[in-house]
């Protein structure tokens, strides 16, 4: 691959449960190019969410090497990982995870709160909410929105810090088909206009086909063909 952005080399992950180690990833090799769209499919328990967490530096591999944009990130401190998440990644979750005490705009601004720099947060929030078509809902609360709208807010939040890598875990899993359509279109539009690298975990083959330049199948903690 000409310009690899993400490189995983023989990455393993095992969790301690009581006295025994439960292996979840058994030596994953994966390279994702800059601007590439990758879908990860697999049954539940196949390790795809764990892989996504490791890609997003929410979790660290038990062994193996993770190079991000040419830098080894497998041995960074917790603080450095926090900063990296803030500056490099955008997360989209199946259940949105919007904070119900905050307005839509405040939710979108959340990643900006944790970075240095004084650009106007509200302007950026407005810009992003316009992108996802919710600029009129600025001061609403998440529970006043439909599921599809909430996921659009979550995508706006994920984009707040100009992420280089957008990570989505079952982004359409909790939505009806109409809302699902809108979210898929939004991802396509975001990728086309921003060129963000996209990794999506899903168990829906149609979603995987539509959003992935490449579809990766996982089983038993290994990447298959």
């Amino acid at each position: 691959m000409a310009d690899p952005f993400v490189e995983l080399r023989d990455v393993t992950k095992a969790y301690r449960r009581d006295e025994s180690e439960v292996p979840v990833l058994n030596g994953v090799d994966l390279t994702i190019g800059r601007g590439e769209r990758v879908s990860i499919m697999g049954r539940s328990g196949s390790g795809k969410s764990t892989l996504l967490n490791i890609l997003g530096c929410l979790d660290v591999p038990s062994s193996g090497e993770y190079r991000l944009d040419g830098h080894d990130v497998s041995h960074l401190s917790d603080n450095e990982l926090s900063r990296l998440r803030n500056a490099t990644f955008g997360f989209v979750f199946q259940s949105f995870h919007l904070l119900k005490g905050l307005t839509i705009a405040e939710n979108v601004e959340l990643p900006l709160e944790y970075c240095e720099g004084g650009a106007s947060h509200r302007d950026r929030a407005l810009e992003l909410l316009t992108l996802v078509g919710l600029e009129h809902r600025l001061s609403h609360r998440p529970n006043e929105l439909s599921g599809g709208e909430r996921q659009r807010v979550a995508i706006a939040r994920a984009l707040a810090n100009h992420p280089k890598l957008l990570l989505a875990d079952e982004p359409t899993g909790a939505l009806d088909s109409k809302a699902q359509r809108a979210i898929l279109d939004l991802f396509t539009r975001v990728h086309r206009s921003l060129g963000t690298t996209l990794v999506i975990v899903t168990h829906d083959p149609k979603v995987a086909e539509e959003l992935g330049d490449r579809v990766i199948h996982m089983s038993d903690g290994r990447v298959g063909g």
Partner: protein
């Protein structure tokens, strides 16, 4: 991460959970208000003691005749003549030559035409200097003067109670009969405050008819066979010197009285020290109780912060995902508990004073508005917020974001 951001984040949390915040607040309010209440009532009691001692002059040593039962007077009368005016010069020289002195005799009023019941009204025959030494303040008319005493004038000054009850329309110029003589009322006294349990209760001046000493001797009643005066007071340099004066006086008077302790020397400093010692014990007890309630308040805050972590675990996970460091999460939770405690402390201080002033009003206690107690309570509540907030905050910061984000 700027401070205002952290602050705003915490306020959002309070907006989202008003009831829970209010309950945590309540614990702190009660804790701090009990601290403030205890301290201000305790401090008030201290000042009350001081004020009651000041009422008869804090810088005065009193010698009070001890009552000797009539049947025993015979046994001691050959050795001692009781407290009398001859003791005066000895007292003067013992406490320092220039000391101001005054004496008084307290006796039953006897026959009188005062239009009130007089069973607890006393006839107080004084040397007029006592007006200064005992700090008797004139409300209307004039005080007794040295010449009243020298010429045996038949004039009287009424205590506030007597004056108000006997002559509601004004006592000045009225003529009253005491024994077989008529006296002109030339003045009335300001009321004196109650003196807790001083051997000499300042309040008894409120129920007194005060007349010049010599007039009383000539016109009303001859002196006792045994003792001539009941109280002899000498002004010394200040409160701190009263105990020294007492120590100097004791041997002198004992020698004059043939070794018989038919007198009692009252030094305000000594009384004050005794009172303070009891009060100090009481204060320790009260403060411990208050500290326990503050502790309970703090535990309440900790409890609620811990419950917060469980409920907001996905929030923590999400914040971590978008870039919050452990320190950011810790600070957010810590600031929340400190704010709860600070606000609770503020309300508690106000409430504490309100309650203690209400209690003071209801039970006629002196309540002090102590600035120190306020500062103390404030810093204590912030301290409680830090101490009881740090553990939940550390726990929140250690939440694993992966696990947290799996929760729904």
């Amino acid at each position: 991460m700027t401070r205002t951001k952290v602050l705003r984040r915490s306020l959002v949390q309070f907006r989202t959970h008003p009831l829970r915040t209010a309950l945590a607040l309540l614990g702190m309010v009660l804790g701090v208000s009990s601290v403030v209440g205890m301290v201000s009532i305790g401090e008030g009691a201290q000042r009350e003691i001081l004020a009651s001692i000041e009422a008869l002059g804090g810088d005065v040593v009193h010698v009070k005749a001890k009552d000797v039962p009539d049947e025993k007077v015979g046994e001691i009368v050959n050795d001692s003549r009781g407290l009398n005016r001859n003791d005066l010069s000895a007292v003067r020289s013992a406490v320092g030559g220039a000391a101001e002195t005054g004496y008084a005799r307290w006796s039953a009023l006897g026959v009188t035409d005062l239009p009130v019941s007089t069973y607890n009204v006393k006839l107080v025959a004084v040397e007029p200097t006592l007006f200064d030494i005992h700090r008797l303040k004139v409300r209307t008319g004039r005080r007794l003067l040295a010449l009243d005493d020298v010429y045996g004038r038949r004039v009287a000054v009424l205590g506030s109670d007597v004056a108000e009850r006997a002559f509601p329309g004004g006592a000045l110029g009225k003529r009253i009969r005491i024994g077989y003589a008529y006296f002109e009322v030339v003045g009335t006294l300001e009321p004196k405050r109650a003196g807790a349990d001083l051997p000499l209760d300042p309040e008894s001046y409120n129920r007194a008819v005060v007349v010049p000493f010599n007039t009383a001797v000539e016109e009303v009643a001859p002196p006792d066979t045994y003792k001539e005066i009941d109280v002899l007071s000498a002004k010394v340099g200040g409160l701190a010197e009263t105990l020294a004066a007492k120590r100097a006086l004791g041997p002198v008077l004992r020698a004059l009285h043939g070794g018989i302790e038919d007198f009692e020397i009252i030094a305000p400093e000594e009384i004050l020290e005794k009172k303070r010692a009891t009060q100090a014990i009481l204060n320790v007890v009260l403060t411990s109780i208050a500290a326990i309630s503050l502790l309970v308040g703090g535990i309440g805050v900790m409890n609620i912060m811990l419950a917060n972590i469980m409920e907001r675990i996905t929030e923590i996970g999400l914040r971590r995902a978008v870039g919050a460091s452990k320190k950011d999460i810790r600070d957010q939770f810590l600031v929340e508990s400190v704010i709860i405690c600070f606000v609770g402390g503020t309300i508690g201080v106000v409430l504490g004073y309100a309650v203690s002033f209400a209690v003071g009003w209801a039970f006629h206690l002196t309540v002090a508005f102590a600035w120190m107690a306020m500062v103390f309570a404030f810093s204590l509540s912030v301290g409680v917020g830090l101490v009881f907030g740090i553990w939940p905050a550390m726990r929140a910061s250690r939440v694993n974001p992966v696990v947290a984000l799996q929760r729904e």
